[in-house]
Structure formats: structure tokens, C-alpha cells
Symmetry: C2
Subunit: 161 residues, 2 copies
DNA sequence: TACTTTCCCAACTAAAATAGTCAAGATTTC
DNA sequence: GAAATCTTGACTATTTTAGTTGGGAAAGTA
């Protein structure tokens, strides 16, 4: 199973797009700055998101990205699938050849778990996230940039340290 | 989040122990052969399982490993936690400093997902797995070794190919 | 037209994690 | 004392992650 920074970045960036809906195309540079994600890395991710029609792009000055469909029609699972190849936890990716071409002892366990996670993430839309109070608070903070000055010198410190 | 071969191997090996309960200590060599896992790698995993008292060991000839408590008291989540350091999906591992020392946009999403997975895996015991029909079938197959001869030359082929 | 802004794309790379191997040793049984 | 088994730590190859680099193509603006 893969649920890494790649998927987190993709969902975060998509949520950023959703939160700025109505302001015209949003540039990756804006997202990169607001969400603290490398611009070049975002470009890679958006290349995949675009291929899945999850975002639409406009080139040139004033251009940028916007959601490919409505926020309530885009589900987290889709976004993660678009950038990470799979969210399957089985070794054989659904085939039943995990061990010597036969099903391994725990095949169904991982298969069930995958379904569980998949169902969970495919029932949460970007709109659902936007409706959450905590998300709106963070978005507000990012918007007005009223960051406590005492924290500014810690920018760039690895998370979790 | 980490749900990789390491965790899968650990659960599979523990389930093997559970299935052979009552036969005295089981050697890692047996498990390695039955489940197709490298012996040295199993040694690493069991070192951690033993530190968490999930297994008990007996040295010397006739020795091996047995479950540290009853199969119905050992939960999948425990086993995975013992070998993988964490199954958290948040970047900050529960702290709220994901972005510039503040909570990132999607913190709660990953936090909720982690709880979901954690709850799921901590409600399935080894005994539950043993009670599953599919598991018993695979165990039977492994026991009697009646492997289709046409498959034998495919042993060692990478899964999923 | 020239210039700038933006998306687009492919190749490269450093660091970390994964999935092991290898070598030595400690216990116990026979 | 020899063999079987666990125990430990260090080493290693491969893959993945999380980027960087460098070029381009399209579109708007002067």
C-alpha cells in the first residue's frame, strides 16, 4: 500500500484549488507557496492529475489550473490513485498468485483492508473537506498570512522534529 | 503510512504459528519454507516480535517459536506495529506541525484515516483469521504440499508478473 | 515581433526505506 | 562435543521517494 507524501501533496493541492474556486485559474507557484510544496514536484503531480481530467489547465499569463469538475464530484481516492499507482495492500495486486502462483495465507486480509480504505477515501469529496471547520480555519490562516513572527525562523524545519 | 511486505510477512508468520499451535515450538526454517519467506529476514522480524512478547522462543534442538499469548488475544494491528514503526498516515505523526509548525490543510483527513485503519486491524485477531474458510484451505494446501507439478518451475517468479 | 508568464515534459539525482544477506555468537539437546 | 536453533549486528543491493534541472510550447501583453 502506498499512502505517502505524494498522495498527501496531491490532495492538499487539489483542496487548495477548490478553496480558491471562482478566482480564475490558480498558478502552481501560488499553491507551492501557500502549501509549502516544491514547484517542480507539483508540476509532476499535476501532469498526472490532468491526464485523469481531475484538473484543467490554461497556459500563458493569467493561466493556471482549475478543478476538472465540481468539488463535490471529486473524491480523495481518485486523487490519490491518480498520482500513486495503486492503494492496494496485497502483494499480488488482486491476482491470487502471491505464493508460488497460489493465494497466500493472508491474501483476503489485505484484500479486505484495501477495500475498506478504498471505500473510505472514495466517500469523501473535496467539498466535504471544505465544509470542515478545521480546514476553513487553516485556509483562513494561509489566506491572511498572519503567521506568528516567532515561528518564521522555523520555516523549513523538517516536520516531526 | 507503512503497510508493506514487512508487515505482511509478520502477520503471515504469526498466523503460521497459530495454525501449528499444539505441535510444540515451530522453527523459523519451517515457516520460511512454508510461507516462502527468507529465513534471515524472518529472524529480524521475530527479534522484534519477541521484544513485544508476541512470541516466545526456545533455543536448541527441538526449539523454535510459539505464540506469546492466545491466538484470540493477538491482533493484527499489534503485529504490524511491532515490525513497522508506525501505521500513521499523517506527515507529522499526530503532532500538528505539518506545515511551518502549524497544522496542514489535510491534517485531520489523514488522522481520521489512520484511526480507521488502526481500528480495523485491531479488531481482527489471529483466531479470527484462522476461522476463515479461505485461510484453512490455503493452510491445508501448505500442509499436504500437493502442489500442481506444472507450477513448480514457476517458483521464484516475482509476484504480479 | 519580442518578452514574459505560465504550463508541459523528460531525464537526472540524493536520500531514505525495503528486503534482504552474511558472519558471529549464545543456548540447549543429544 | 557436535548439531540445531535462536540472537544480534553489520553490511548491501534494489527500489522508491522526493525532489532538481533544463529544456520546451502556448498564450497573453507591449
Amino acid at each position: 500500500m502506498k499512502l505517502t507524501t505524494k498522495g498527501r501533496y496531491a490532495v492538499t493541492a487539489m483542496l487548495d484549488l477548490a478553496l480558491h474556486y471562482g478566482e480564475g485559474p490558480i498558478t502552481l507557484a501560488d499553491i507551492a507557496q501557500r502549501q509549502g510544496i516544491s514547484l517542480s514536484y507539483l508540476e509532476q503531480l499535476f501532469s498526472r492529475l490532468r491526464r485523469q481530467s481531475l484538473v484543467a489547465s490554461v497556459r500563458g499569463p493569467g493561466g493556471g489550473y482549475s478543478l476538472g469538475k465540481e468539488a463535490r464530484e471529486i473524491f480523495i481516492g481518485e486523487v490519490i490513485s491518480a498520482v500513486d499507482e495503486n492503494m492496494d495492500t496485497t502483494k499480488c495486486h488482486g491476482a491470487h498468485n502471491c505464493q508460488n502462483n497460489e493465494r497466500c495465507l493472508t491474501h483476503d486480509l489485505w484484500s479486505d483492508l484495501s477495500n475498506q480504505i478504498y471505500t473510505y477515501l472514495n466517500n469523501i469529496s473535496l467539498q466535504d473537506l471544505m465544509d470542515r471547520k478545521a480546514v476553513r480555519e487553516v485556509a483562513d490562516r494561509q489566506e491572511h498570512g498572519d503567521v506568528d513572527a516567532s515561528l518564521l525562523d522555523q520555516v523549513g524545519t523538517p516536520a516531526g522534529v
